[in-house]
């Protein structure tokens, strides 16, 4: 009996494991369901994950600048505006950003002067397909905070630029599932349909939906971003113009003018559309005998 003692204990333990497994199986499936809605990171970090998500988004910006980035001690702090992340050289957002990032100034003492030999001191942006280096940080940021909309729009912009249109669409769709009211994601999705898939019908539908979402948020008193309304209306107007719907294009440009920070810049386009509409009107009017 003594000889068989350990084996009996082993069998007993196996039986206990089997019994526990049958009891825990149902609970485990409930955990799996939870994991589908709340990922592991959410369970682990709770709302604190947003802090890390912001950190990873910032790291993407640092990577975009190849390490040249202001600290909290630098007078010109990093702007909360993320438009420079989706702007190319020469665009207004890029020029404004260039001014904001002139934070280094002259060294104050010999320690700072010497220390600059060991640090990145030039303001550059990634180029030549190197922009892909920011994508892991953005993906991690989105995993931690699925409600951070700019993560999806910035990622999709660069994914499209890198020729990864399918991945961009998937990521935007994921963003839309997490943020169904986001007019920003809808705008970016519309650009993808218009510029990459050359599908004006789907682009129009998505941009129209974006305008609707913007209006709904305004009606709800959420103060949506006017620049987004301006941008969406302008892009949709150009699409309608290409498709020959001049009246709708004009209507949209007038809407954009109300939201634009530089309405005067849109006036020549409005005038041109008006002229084309008046020229077209007699030709389509029924001829009187």
């Amino acid at each position: 009996m003594k000889k068989h003692g350990p084996y009996l204990i082993l069998i007993l333990l196996l039986a206990a494991c089997f019994s526990l497994a049958t009891v825990l199986q149902q609970r485990a499936s409930a955990w799996t369901k939870r994991a589908q809605s709340d990922n592991v990171l959410k369970v682990l970090f709770g709302d604190g994950r947003r802090f890390f998500a912001d950190g990873f988004f910032r790291q993407a910006d640092v990577s975009f600048h190849s390490g040249f980035y202001p600290t909290i001690f630098d007078q010109a702090r990093a702007s909360q505006d993320t438009r420079h992340l989706t702007a190319k050289e020469g665009e207004p957002a890029a020029e404004e950003h260039e001014k904001q990032f002139n934070f280094l100034g002259r060294p104050r003492d010999w320690i700072e002067r010497f220390g600059r030999h060991f640090a990145v001191t030039s303001h550059t942006h990634l180029e030549g397909k190197k922009e892909r280096e920011i994508l892991p940080w953005l993906k991690m940021s989105a995993e931690l905070d699925p409600q951070k909309i700019e993560t999806y729009t910035v990622s999709a912009y660069w994914l499209r630029d890198l020729g990864k249109v399918k991945e961009a669409e998937e990521f935007l769709r994921e963003g839309l599932r997490n943020n169904p009211d986001s007019y920003e994601i809808l705008f970016e999705l519309g650009r993808l349909y218009s510029e990459n898939y050359h599908d004006p019908a789907r682009a129009r539908n998505v941009w129209e939906l974006a305008l609707r979402r913007w209006s709904e948020q305004e009606a709800a008193g959420k103060k949506p971003d006017l620049r987004e309304l301006d941008r969406t209306a302008v892009y949709l107007s150009h699409l309608e113009e290409k498709e020959g719907n001049l009246a709708r294009a004009l209507e949209l440009l007038q809407l954009a003018k109300k939201a634009s920070p530089t309405p005067a810049a849109l006036q020549p386009q409005i005038d041109e559309l008006k002229q084309r509409l008046t020229k077209r009107a007699p030709s389509i009017a029924p001829k009187t005998p």
Binding site: D109, E112, F118, V120
Partner: protein, 259 residues
């Protein structure tokens, strides 16, 4: 010199007999390889985040090894009472300090070399080029910086009662200098007198460890630091390490050795 080398040899043997280094290296390797194996948007050309994470882990591991190894050297000799036969050899107290410093610093160098070889292999296998001189420069600057840290912890080990308190205080001071040291001048300028002069004084007094952190240059493929700047930074570190060791000797030479 032979005495110092013999003392240093004992410390190096201790490093490879203890598990600290192996645990930290395996952790660094596992985390780096795991992160490297993740596919982001089916793009295999992304590499910088792996370099960034690997170098961060190397820096953390190197600091843990340097501070952990150094903090227990003299207290352990005193606690085990091995300090008495050691000093009866005859070995002077100054030789003990220099020998312990040399041992800890060389041990850190050996550990760091293994870490950088691993980093080079991981980085090179993904980027398909090996900027060996840049890696060597980053290794050298970090090792030189660890010289100051080791000297500082050695001073702490003859000032503070327990290795744990010494290690904790050293970590706080080193991390404080690394994160804030370079910005104290900006902070000082925003303060009223006399606080401004005090903060500026601290800024000039502390060793600027942040100079030796050239991770950004490696991760983002910037040009190497000039060799003259490297030499000057080495001289700066040697001066601070010398000062701290001299301070440690001053305290240790009159310190009673009974626990």
């Amino acid at each position: 010199m032979n005495t110092i080398l013999a003392l240093a040899g004992v410390v190096i043997k201790e490093l490879y007999r203890r598990k600290d280094f192996y645990v930290l290296f395996v952790l660094t390797a596992v985390i780096t390889l795991l992160m490297g194996s993740v596919s982001f948007f089916h793009d295999t050309g992304i590499v910088r985040y792996v370099k960034e994470i690997a170098l961060l882990l190397i820096w953390i591991a190197a600091l843990v090894i340097a501070i952990g190894t150094t903090a227990r050297q003299i207290p352990a000799e005193r606690e085990n009472r091995t300090i008495f036969p050691l000093l009866a050899k005859p070995v002077t107290r100054g030789q003990v300090i220099v020998g312990k410093f040399a041992g800890c610093w060389l041990a850190c160098g050996l550990a760091l070399m293994v870490f950088y070889v691993f980093f080079g292999v991981v980085s090179g296998s993904r980027e398909h080029y090996w900027p060996v001189l840049s890696f060597f420069q980053a290794f050298w600057l970090q090792w030189v910086m660890l010289g100051i840290v080791v000297a500082f912890v050695l001073l702490g080990s003859v000032v503070f009662a327990a290795p744990s308190s010494n290690a904790t205080i050293s970590f706080i001071v080193v991390l404080g200098i690394l994160l804030l040291g370079g910005h104290l001048n900006q902070v000082a300028l925003q303060q009223p007198e006399p606080l401004r002069s005090i903060v500026y004084g601290v800024y000039f007094l502390i060793p600027h460890l942040e100079w030796y952190d050239v991770r950004d240059l490696i991760v983002y493929d910037w040009n190497r630091v000039g060799w003259l700047d490297c030499a000057l930074a080495t001289l700066y570190a040697a001066t601070y390490a010398g000062l701290l060791l001299f301070g440690a000797w001053l305290v240790f030479r009159r310190k009673p050795l009974n626990v």
